[in-house]
């Protein structure tokens, strides 16, 4: 499993866009957490599973116009920490 932290514009359909890319590019969504960031942005944490390297997904997500930033959270470095902590402390 891999975890990504996305910063996106809070525009209609932005979550659909993210999830559509995840599904179409062959990744399974394990968890999704969304929270507002300021007036116009959202922070989105997604945990995904897939046989392809995560770069195949991040490269496609990068092409979303309303995506402002993306971080690949390395779960391996925090194996002993609870999953949510890993996302929050990244």
């Amino acid at each position: 499993m891999q975890c990504l932290k996305l910063e996106v514009n809070n525009k209609p359909a932005i979550l659909e866009r993210v999830l559509q890319v995840v599904r179409y590019r062959g990744f399974e969504l394990i968890s999704l957490q969304v929270s507002p960031q300021g007036m116009d942005m959202l922070t989105v944490f997604i945990t995904v599973d897939g046989v392809q390297p995560i770069s195949k997904l991040t490269n496609q997500l990068n092409k979303l116009y309303d995506l402002a930033g993306i971080i690949h959270l390395n779960l391996a470095q925090s194996e002993n920490a609870p999953h949510e902590n890993a996302m929050r402390t990244a």
């Binding site: 932290k5 910063e7 514009n9 525009k11 209609p12 359909a13 659909e16 866009r17 559509q20 179409y24 116009d40 942005m41 770069s55 195949k56 991040t58 490269n59 496609q60 990068n62 092409k63 116009y65 309303d66 995506l67 402002a68 930033g69 993306i70 971080i71 690949h72």
Partner: protein, 562 residues
């Protein structure tokens, strides 16, 4: 100025002279405003045709094509064309009317969730529900369609927004997308390696090969590519969309690779020790069985879209860049004489033999198209549909730029040819435009004959008629034990009579020995004209690489069919 008038004002500012579309209820304010605009609107007879014409306009000029449709069925009819533009990286701006904001979400008449439908077939799409956001949305859509890897952008605009007055003081600036990245968040980018590493590989290589894709022409880098070939003496192959970047008569050029590629091109890829891929995405129709594709090669991949780098084939060097910037930096001191001599020999041995048209026989498709190619001026545009004739066009016609070869490469959409040809002729009225179709494909957007008639657009049409869905029939013959399921089209209408009803002049070509005379007739017609070529239904496209097979294991034409 209301929203509708602003859209047209915006397009005028962008020097758009021609748009394609089809009116309807929700988009009526825009069509009303059009009566007072300088923009010429071409009414297609189906939204899919309108958008294919916009694609033909865009591809033949390397500029943005504009298409307009209404809500509901108008928008759903556009979906195939949007997908076509997405896969072939065509810059489009598509504007759809939507039901009024007060009705949205109520399953109103002709309401469909266009934004939702657009997500997987557009580079980007927006629903503009606030008139104040319209100017910025138009501006960044226009830029986004063209920047980086081009693609289609859809703006869905509700009817009441089209009718709302826009005050200068109300105009919102762009929402600042992609500029609000915080210091914590960075876009992942692992695709920058120095160009000098490519040059090192070129020095070390014994058998380098250039793999030219459609991105080269889109980047305006044909000159840079040919300059590189001249100074490096690298042999090259082309994808379907790259045809025309390298002159087909160039001594180091081997032609199109892939499923119906030329033997020399496919063999070169399989033997090379360095494959330099520029402006291409290593599509499955080009690579054949991926595990056995270019098995001895180190792969260098240069493309504007980082997501294509390493997507299907691991790379030794991947550079996300504009190929126009990279090609001038490439250099080598090697001469590769032995390698080029070897490839030249294969190319000569495998050269296609064309008919001299002396024998009385059914027309030979490759020879007809080769002859057409010789007769056409170099600046002529050829649009084609999808199937056997599409591959014959790619194999046997010669182009001086991909802008002159309009073909539905990624999506493979039957019905593409005629409307794309209309768009090209609107964009380049001074140039000859020929639409080469199959009998199956032609019927897919046959209603666009009405567009030819309405505007007197002098497109020349050739129907390569084998009374079959020829490519599917070929696969049934070769891979499905000759079990011909739903591919017999011997019930086709009389194409000449059909064309004449729409005001075209038309004639048949039934005998090989009349080929030259029939093609001369077609090209001499002043208005729109159609040549109905009656082929032998047994004629197939050769060579063919069977599915899940390496490209060098292509099947060549059986001698009994020669």
């Amino acid at each position: 100025m209301n929203g509708a008038q602003y859209i047209l004002h915006f397009l005028e500012q962008k020097q758009v002279h021609s748009v394609f579309g089809y009116p309807g209820g929700a988009i009526m304010p825009l069509y009303d405003a059009m009566l007072d605009s300088s923009i010429k609107h071409y009414l297609a007879r189906h939204e899919q045709g309108a958008a294919f014409s916009a694609i033909g306009y865009a591809r033949s000029t390397n500029s943005v094509g504009v298409c307009i449709g209404t809500s509901g069925p108008g928008a759903t009819n556009l979906i195939t064309s949007l997908a076509d533009a997405m896969l072939d990286s065509v810059p489009l701006l598509v504007i759809t009317g939507q039901v009024a904001t007060s009705s949205m979400g109520s399953d109103a008449f002709q309401e469909v969730d266009v934004l939702g439908l657009s997500l997987s077939v557009c580079k980007h799409s927006e629903l503009v529900t606030d008139i104040r956001e319209l100017p910025a949305a138009l501006e960044y859509s226009w830029e986004l369609a063209q920047e980086g890897r081009p693609g289609p952008i859809l703006l869905d605009v509700p009817k009441d927004v089209l009718l709302t007055e826009l005050n200068d003081t109300d105009i919102k600036q762009s929402s600042g997308t992609q500029t609000s990245t915080t210091s914590e968040m960075q876009v992942i980018d692992g695709h920058q390696q120095p160009v000098s590493e490519i040059n090192q590989l070129l020095e070390q290589a014994q058998k380098p090969l250039l793999y030219v894709g459609g991105g080269v022409a889109m980047a305006g880098a044909i000159q840079e590519l040919n300059d590189f070939i001249e100074r490096s003496h690298l042999p090259s192959v082309s994808t379907l969309k790259g045809l025309g970047c390298v002159p087909s008569a160039h001594p180091y050029y081997l032609g199109m690779l892939g499923m119906h590629g030329l033997p020399g091109a496919n063999i070169a890829v399989q033997e090379c020790d360095l494959l330099l891929v520029v402006g291409a995405r290593l599509d499955d129709r080009a690579t054949g069985k991926l595990d056995e594709f270019a098995p001895h090669a180190k792969v260098v991949h240069v493309d504007i879209d980082a997501a294509e780098l390493g997507k299907r084939r691991a790379t030794h060097i991947a550079i996300q860049a504009d190929v126009k910037q990279i090609l001038p930096l490439l250099t080598t001191h090697q001469d590769y004489d032995e390698w080029n001599a070897h490839l030249r020999q294969i190319k000569a041995e495998k050269a296609v033999q064309y008919s001299d048209f002396s024998a009385s026989a059914r027309p030979d498709a490759p020879s007809v198209l080769h002859c057409l190619s010789e007769k056409l001026p170099k600046n002529a545009v050829v649009a084609c549909d999808v199937g056997q004739h599409q591959m014959w066009v790619a194999q046997h016609m010669q182009f001086t730029t991909p802008c002159n070869h309009l073909t539905s490469g990624g999506l493979g959409t039957m019905g593409f040819g005629l409307p794309a040809a209309i768009g090209a002729k609107v964009a380049r009225p001074q140039h000859t435009v020929v639409s080469v179709s199959g009998d199956g494909s032609f019927m897919m957007n046959v209603q666009e004959l009405g567009t030819l008639k309405r505007y007197g657009i002098p497109v020349k049409i050739i129907i390569m008629d084998n009374q079959r869905l020829g490519m599917v029939k070929q696969w049934q013959e070769l891979f499905h034990e000759e079990r011909y399921s739903e591919t017999n089209l011997s019930c086709n209408p009389e194409f000449c009579a059909l064309a004449q009803v729409f005001g075209l002049t038309a004639r048949e070509l039934t005998n090989n020995n009349q080929t030259e005379e029939a093609l001369n007739w077609l090209l001499e017609q002043e208005g729109a004209a159609l040549l109905h070529v009656r082929l032998d239904e047994q004629q197939n496209v050769w060579p063919i690489v069977p599915p899940n097979t390496a490209n060098h294991k292509m099947w060549e034409q059986p001698s009994c069919n020669a």
